[in-house]
């Protein structure tokens, strides 16, 4: 009971952001990878970080996840440790789909008696109700990413970080997972910071698209998408904004060919 109360108290004083990135820089040796990044993710907001290779978007995500420390600046995630989804599913092959989710619950301190029910609810949320006893290798690529999403949601973090989670999937499966992610995001209060190099994917999903420049990574520009959800990746409005953003992205990339 005590933990439930404590949680409710925390929920009352929600800060104005799910993640605050302030003047963050990161160097590996003498190489500056991220330069003075400042970015807020509002509670419940869906932000995509878009950029060409070498813009340090995955590095930034690792910093927000707490897997690495910034060289300068500060990162705050008041909702606790963010959940992180990778391009590879990163599910543990020695556990079933259900047990993978339960491990996340266990590490968060959920009581044994509640874990199974919660895991089944999460599987239902990603429309894999029958997959509890399935081993990871018995699932298709799209199903694995949905279990990985359920596992990330099991952390019950207010911030979900996604590092190109659909990049390795085929186009039809990716479309379906876009729909699913939008649906789940809308039905929960989770904030999402989603990294991709796919402009249409960024526009299809996000409320706000942040374009990063490369070497060193800086925030180049950002767009409020403002197209009502649910969207489709082939919608005219999505395409129109994608063209505009792609033009900017190309400009950024061209700058590097001129020296």
């Amino acid at each position: 009971m005590a933990t439930v109360l404590a949680k409710a108290e925390v929920a009352e004083e929600i800060p104005a952001y799910a993640a605050r990135i302030e003047h963050v820089s990161k160097s590996f040796g003498s190489q500056l990878v991220l330069d003075d990044i400042t970015l807020d993710v509002a509670p419940g907001e869906f932000v995509t970080l878009l950029g060409a290779s070498g813009c340090g978007k995955s590095t930034l995500l690792n910093l927000v996840a707490g897997l690495d420390a910034p060289s300068g600046g500060a990162i705050a995630t008041p909702g606790g440790r963010p959940a992180l989804m990778f391009q590879e599913h990163a599910l543990f092959p020695w556990l079933t789909a259900g047990k993978n989710i339960e491990l996340a619950l266990k590490l968060r301190g959920v009581a044994r008696a509640d874990r199974r029910t919660r895991a089944e609810e999460l599987l239902e949320l990603v429309r894999l109700a029958g997959a509890y006893d399935k081993r990871v290798h018995e699932l298709s690529g799209g199903m694995r990413q949905r279990v990985a999403l359920a596992r990330a949601l099991a952390q019950d973090s207010s911030l979900l970080l996604m590092d190109e989670p659909f990049a390795a999937l085929d186009a039809i499966t990716r479309d379906v997972l876009h729909d699913e992610l939008t649906r789940i995001w809308a039905s929960t209060s989770v904030s999402v910071l989603f990294v991709t190099h796919n402009v249409r994917e960024a526009v299809r999903l996000a409320e706000r698209v942040v374009l990063m420049s490369s070497r060193p990574g800086r925030v180049a520009r950002s767009w409020d998408v403002g197209i009502p959800q649910p969207r489709r990746i082939e919608d005219a409005a999505v395409a129109e904004l994608s063209v505009e953003i792609t033009e900017e992205l190309r400009k950024e990339i061209r700058r590097h060919g001129q020296h």
Binding site: L103, A104, R108, R135, V136, M143, R151, R232
Partner: protein, 294 residues
């Protein structure tokens, strides 16, 4: 924007169900018993029968004197004699119990040692290379010093087994841990598995296949070391194991007894592997989808 109508959520569910069905491999049915017999049991039986046939043929052809090459039936009658004297099972049990107890001791020492070498950089730099090098040292080399230090007794046998098997088990665990994908460690860390919790919930289960391979090799080394010790260090106080049986056969110029001992040593080594380690390994690999069905 006609696509964003109300029914789209149901469409997605159906589409997804279709994709899932198409992407999932149909469940494989159990192999019928007849096919298992045909594919797994028949070939080794054929090989054994062939060896026996060639052996019998060489005896009939009298390629050499019969004190050098006893016939299969002579070896069979020495098995029977040993059985009728009530000694066969006792001899096998003397060696098997020594081997298994020694292996369990090696397990208890090799596992923490492997963990230390894998996780503590200083320990790895200090004894990692020695541990790998020890694997190539024939454990029979340990018999003379073990006899001098400990005398002709069971402790000596266990010492030789440990020196043979501990490096294999420790090395298996080290390579198992080294091969844990860094992605698993990162995934564990984002879920809050750090330190001991990371070792328990991520590193150890992920390293299990390598560890099991080390155990398998550790058993082979235990058994070999023990046979070397039993052959070299025979003493009436030690009781007759398979190694002494072999040595007794040589002393009595009883070639059928020598053949019998060698065959028994081979059978026991194979049987333990087949009954304990192979099923364990298959079970772990199958659970992870790492076993390709042949």
């Amino acid at each position: 924007m006609a696509s964003t109508d109300v029914s789209s959520s149901g469409d997605v569910a159906d589409l997804e169900a279709g994709l899932d069905a198409l992407d999932t491999a149909p469940a494989s049915s159990r192999t019928p018993l007849g096919e298992i017999l045909l594919r797994k049991v028949l070939p080794p039986l054929t090989a054994v029968a062939l060896v026996l046939a060639v052996w019998q043929f060489l005896v009939w052809a009298e390629v050499t004197e019969d004190y050098k090459l006893p016939s299969p039936s002579a070896v069979w009658s020495s098995v029977r004699d040993l059985w009728l004297q009530g000694e066969l099972l006792g001899v096998i049990w003397t060696s098997v119990s020594r081997g298994l107890l020694g292996f369990l001791l090696a397990l208890a020492i090799g596992t923490p040692l492997g963990l230390l070498v894998a996780r503590v950089r200083f320990v790895r730099a200090a004894i990692g290379p020695i541990l790998s090098g020890l694997q190539s040292l024939p454990s029979v080399a340990w018999v003379p010093p073990a006899v001098i230090w400990l005398g002709l007794n069971n402790q000596m046998m266990y010492a030789v087994i440990l020196l043979g098997a501990v490096p294999s088990i420790a090395n298996g665990l080290v390579s198992g841990i080294d091969q844990v994908p860094p992605l698993f460690l990162r995934a564990g860390r984002t879920m809050g598995a750090t330190g001991l919790r990371s070792a328990r919930y991520v590193v150890m289960p992920a390293a299990l296949p390598g560890y099991l391979a080390g155990l398998k090799q550790g058993w082979a080394f235990s058994w070999r070391s023990l046979m070397a010790a039993e052959i070299i260090a025979s003493s009436p106080d030690l009781g007759v194991g398979l190694g002494q049986l072999l040595e007794n056969g040589r002393n009595n110029a009883d070639m059928a007894g020598v053949f019998l001992a060698i065959i028994l040593i081979l059978i026991v080594g194979i049987a333990i592997d087949l009954l304990i380690f192979s099923p364990l390994e298959r079970w772990v690999l199958r659970g992870r989808g790492l076993l390709v069905k042949s």
